[in-house]
Symmetry: C2
């Protein structure tokens, strides 16, 4: 029993039914879909072909005692679904007893829950009490240390800086200390017993957005997430312009390397400040990114990625010290980059596969990592195909007239309904711009409302008569020569979606949809054989699967097969940080995945043009 | 048959009898001792209890057809030995047929011949021809490299600097290159096939003298040897004053670290200039030295070595990159320090044991490494005891009035004979000073001539009458308040041995002899049970075993059991550089050897005072 006004999600939790709700009650991801049973005998069972009731998943209430569908629900589901009683558990509030059936899909998380990852980090700690040196036992400090370490951490390498620190540290710690190893390398000797504190950093280094996640390596929890615009953007918005800068400007590569590291360090400072974690207790950073970001971060010339045969310099994992790269964790700590696959398909895609466990799935899934480069993976445990398309930074709010990251003031949801425009703004602030998920929504809603034609052109003329139509018509405007649609009028200045913004989105979605088409062709299956579409992205907000489907970013599959999973690359990085076993699995994934080089495909451009239409 | 006037050494070589002559025909080491048979029937066999004829070691000549003993022979052997027909094969010249028996000892080298060391260096090279990247084969550069390397060098680590160089190197080398690994680490990629060229550096880092040896790692030969005064001498002559500087002066440790490295680099420059070897083709340096030198070289605080319980910071081998330490070989190359034993007994002693193969001997041997610190090893395959005594730099010519290294102009041999003083000078130059071996000779000869009493006092009054006595009397002089004996009068200025110099030598020899006494006591054997005494030192010239015995530096054993073996520590370093198997053996030696801490022994000082007398 839960109080009236509680959500179905809260009611399910009270009944010990664990519903997957990755977006955190925000009505964004559409993942927590459940079906309310019609007000007939509760013995009838569920309706709808996707609903599979499982024993124990039903809670008995009097029928129809539930509030009507909310705007997010209407937006995320088709009228047919709503008519069939489908609701989002995080949105629907009960007023009395209802019978609800929870489909298996809603119980199975689309990404591996971090709680299921057993922490087995590369960082290991051992508390030691060493006997003090004496004439009877005058062995060397290092030998003394090794003797005590042997049962816990054997054969660790002692670097020169630590060797130099040793004669000072042992007596100052009174021979009571905690040794810290990352992999086979000793990185710190701390006074007393600090075995309960060990931290790591997972970094998703995107072309436009950089997400830095602070992780407790002992408990396995995420302590904080910070995102930043990649400081490399000053040298070019996309990977090609960055590569040009790196290869043609003297010192350009070093500038880009430092810019990436500074961006990470800036996010790290906020995390340290916010959580109070000691910098020197962050011993490892696992970094993922597309191949170009990976190369630039390591200071490796990415030039070969830009022209045929597009081979990277390195695709295997690279491991170096934090001080070598300038990452401001413990300077003797380790930076580990997950393996790349091929071409631009980098370790971020490996991390997406790891987080979604596609590589273990028996059914064929499609994962799309929406960023400045859109990486696409199609496959299952038997075969994994990948490709990369230059989507541009539209999904991250860049190169959009009022574009911004999903920070307070960003329009993240748009509904056009009964002639009105309803907005959801990050932080419930006055709207000042639009982020990727809002852009997708806005275009999808304009299309649904008949304000955009099939070619993606804003069509004021076609808006019908009547009150609601005229209200919408008032929102058409011009910025210079460019047609626009006013989304918000009540902030400090209006937020306008322009024809140009729509074109940017069309190019992005066309590239991705064409990539999907090529992968399906290469795999030899049809769209309908995709059991699940996973929409991932580091852009900070979950995108609306219905909007993604509406604009044709993803194939026209039943909406319940399309799931927004947030920053799966970041989560994969966290998983690899937490578990060396999963890191090995990542290496297997990178080796197994087959890469389809789209620029080598004569059919790609044709497909792209075809897929531009909305 | 050899021409009349040839040495016995040359005759033996012509008869394919390999006599050990480590000092290289210079009549210094006394190692090539053979016994000329008396002019009777050649069927009689050899005389003398140490002579064991072995079949095939006899060359038939007519008897007595040999020139009389030379000064080096008279100096190195007792009158009884000379009467018994013992000769030095490198000195005795034949005039006709003689029968000579070669004792086993003379056939067995006192140090392991480098020719017997099978080169198996840590440096490995592999010539590769890589397929160029193509759309059909667009794998990463590193993967391409690994694929080709796999059969030859598997699992090598690619460091960040090399990874960064890779995209430039592969095309510039036209994918035809030689990969160079040291241990598991890739250190260079060179154009074309360079597998026939690989070099290494063996360094004996002494408190006073630093010996640097350039070694061809392919053929196993020594290409050049350079020695330098350790630049650390500016901060103190002995280890204690260096430790004081390192621990009390701000930046003192770094100054000493840089001074050691600069000294090595200065010798290296000469070697590069002289041999034409490319700096970047020197991939590894193996460094030995006493524990204090080892710590200072690595930049590790040696403070704990100076006070009880005298534990070192590190005794195991340390491996780091050349650039970390500043050694001017290939910057990505490796510097490897052999393990220390304990206290001040460092890797130089391990190298001496390795070079003399004491640790494999069935008989008990005594090795003395004469340097500023005198390290002593007593034992055999079953047990090895070591200790270290502060001998001072007298053996290296330092703190001696006219002391110098064994450079041109240094008196290296002294004979006082029939009232005359005969000298052998390095480079046959006019004498300008005296080196360690000359100092030892001079004191021994003065003592034999009755010009020094048992307490080590120069005694002009006791010189007898007669012409020769008066000639010697004229050589007595004073420098200030100090009595002296003029060794050479004909150079630009006279070279004088002072009473103070003799005291320095007495202190040095007293310390070493006391150390020997303590080790014998600890081992539980008498002096006579020592099968061989090996006199090693990096001071540049072989010391005279007879002189060493005469002044009581070594126990009064038959002279043929005392052998000067030159810089055995340097040779041990060369062996470890050439063979990773021998490096493992060095680790075993360091682990096995037991250390006797003399400063912890109440009986040491008593023994020292007793052993001061000449």
């Amino acid at each position: 029993m839960v109080p009236a006004g509680s959500t179905l999600l809260a009611a399910a939790a009270a009944a010990h039914v664990a519903i997957d709700a990755p977006c955190g009650d925000r009505g964004i991801c559409g993942k927590c879909k459940v079906q309310v049973q019609p007000p007939v005998s509760s013995a009838d069972g569920p309706r709808g072909d996707t609903a599979k009731p499982t024993p124990g998943n039903e809670a008995t209430h009097t029928p129809a005692a539930i509030e009507p569908p909310t705007l997010p629900e209407i937006s995320l589901m088709s009228p047919e679904e709503i008519a069939a009683g489908w609701r989002l558990a995080c949105q629907a509030r009960v007023t009395g007893d209802v019978v609800v059936s929870v489909p298996e899909r809603t119980l199975q998380p689309a990404v591996v829950p971090l709680a299921e990852v057993r922490p087995r980090p590369a960082v290991r700690k051992a508390h030691l009490r060493l006997p003090e040196p004496s004439l009877e036992d005058p062995v060397a400090d290092v030998t003394r240390l090794r003797r005590a370490l042997e049962p816990k951490l054997s054969n660790v390498q002692v670097s020169l800086p630590l060797l130099r620190a040793l004669p000072r540290l042992l007596p100052s710690h009174r021979y009571d200390l905690t040794a810290v190893a990352v992999g086979e390398r000793l990185v710190a000797l701390e006074p007393g017993d600090t075995t309960d504190r060990a931290f790591g950093l997972a970094v998703d280094l995107g072309t436009t957005s950089v997400v830095v996640i602070l992780v407790d390596l002992v408990g396995g929890q995420t302590l904080g997430i910070e995102s930043r615009l990649n400081g490399q953007a000053n040298f070019g918005a996309d990977v090609i312009s960055r590569i040009t800068h790196a290869t043609t400007q003297p010192g350009g590569l070093e500038e880009l390397q430092r810019a990436a590291v500074s961006t990470i360090n800036s996010a790290l400072e906020s995390l340290l400040h916010r959580t109070g974690v000691e910098r020197d207790m962050i011993y490892e950073a696992v970094v993922v990114g597309n191949s170009c970001m990976n190369h630039l971060f390591l200071g490796v010339d990415p030039g070969s990625l830009a022209s045929a045969p597009y081979q990277p310099v390195v695709s295997e994992p690279v491991s170096c010290t934090a001080s070598e790269l300038g990452v401001a964790i413990n300077p003797m700590g380790r930076v580990y980059t997950l393996p790349n696959i091929a071409g631009f398909v980098g370790s971020d895609t490996v991390a997406v596969i790891l987080a979604t466990a596609m590589h273990r799935s028996t059914e064929v899934k499609l994962a799309i990592d929406l960023g400045t480069n859109g990486e696409i993976v199609l496959g299952n445990r038997n075969r994994l195909l990948t490709c990369s398309t230059a989507a541009g930074p539209a999904f991250e709010g860049a190169r959009i007239t009022f574009g911004m990251r999903a920070a307070p003031g960003a329009i993240e949801r748009v509904w056009i309904h009964h002639g009105g425009v309803k907005l959801q703004v990050v932080g419930d602030s006055p709207p000042i711009g639009i982020c990727g998920s809002g852009l997708l929504d806005a275009v999808a809603q304009l299309k649904n409302a008949g304000l955009l034609n099939g070619t993606g052109r804003l069509v004021r003329a076609e808006v019908g008569d009547g009150l609601s139509a005229s209200t919408l018509r008032e929102r058409f405007t011009r910025i210079g020569d460019v047609e626009g649609f006013v989304l918000a009028r009540r902030g400090r200045r209006p937020v306008v979606l322009t024809q140009q913004d729509i074109r940017e989105l069309q190019l992005a979605k066309g590239a991705i949809r064409a990539g999907i088409s090529i992968l399906l062709k290469e795999y030899g299956i049809g769209e309908e054989e995709i059991s699940e579409v996973l929409l991932a992205g580091a852009f900070g907000s979950y995108i609306n699967p219905a909007s993604a489907r509406a604009i044709g970013l993803v194939p026209p599959l039943p909406i319940e097969r399309i799931t927004a999973v947030g920053n799966a690359a970041g989560q994969g990085a966290v998983m690899a940080l937490l578990s060396t076993e999963l890191r090995e699995e990542a290496i297997q994934i990178a080796t197994r995945a087959e890469h389809v080089e789209l620029s080598a495909r004569p059919d790609f451009m044709e497909q792209f043009v075809e897929d531009l239409a909305l």
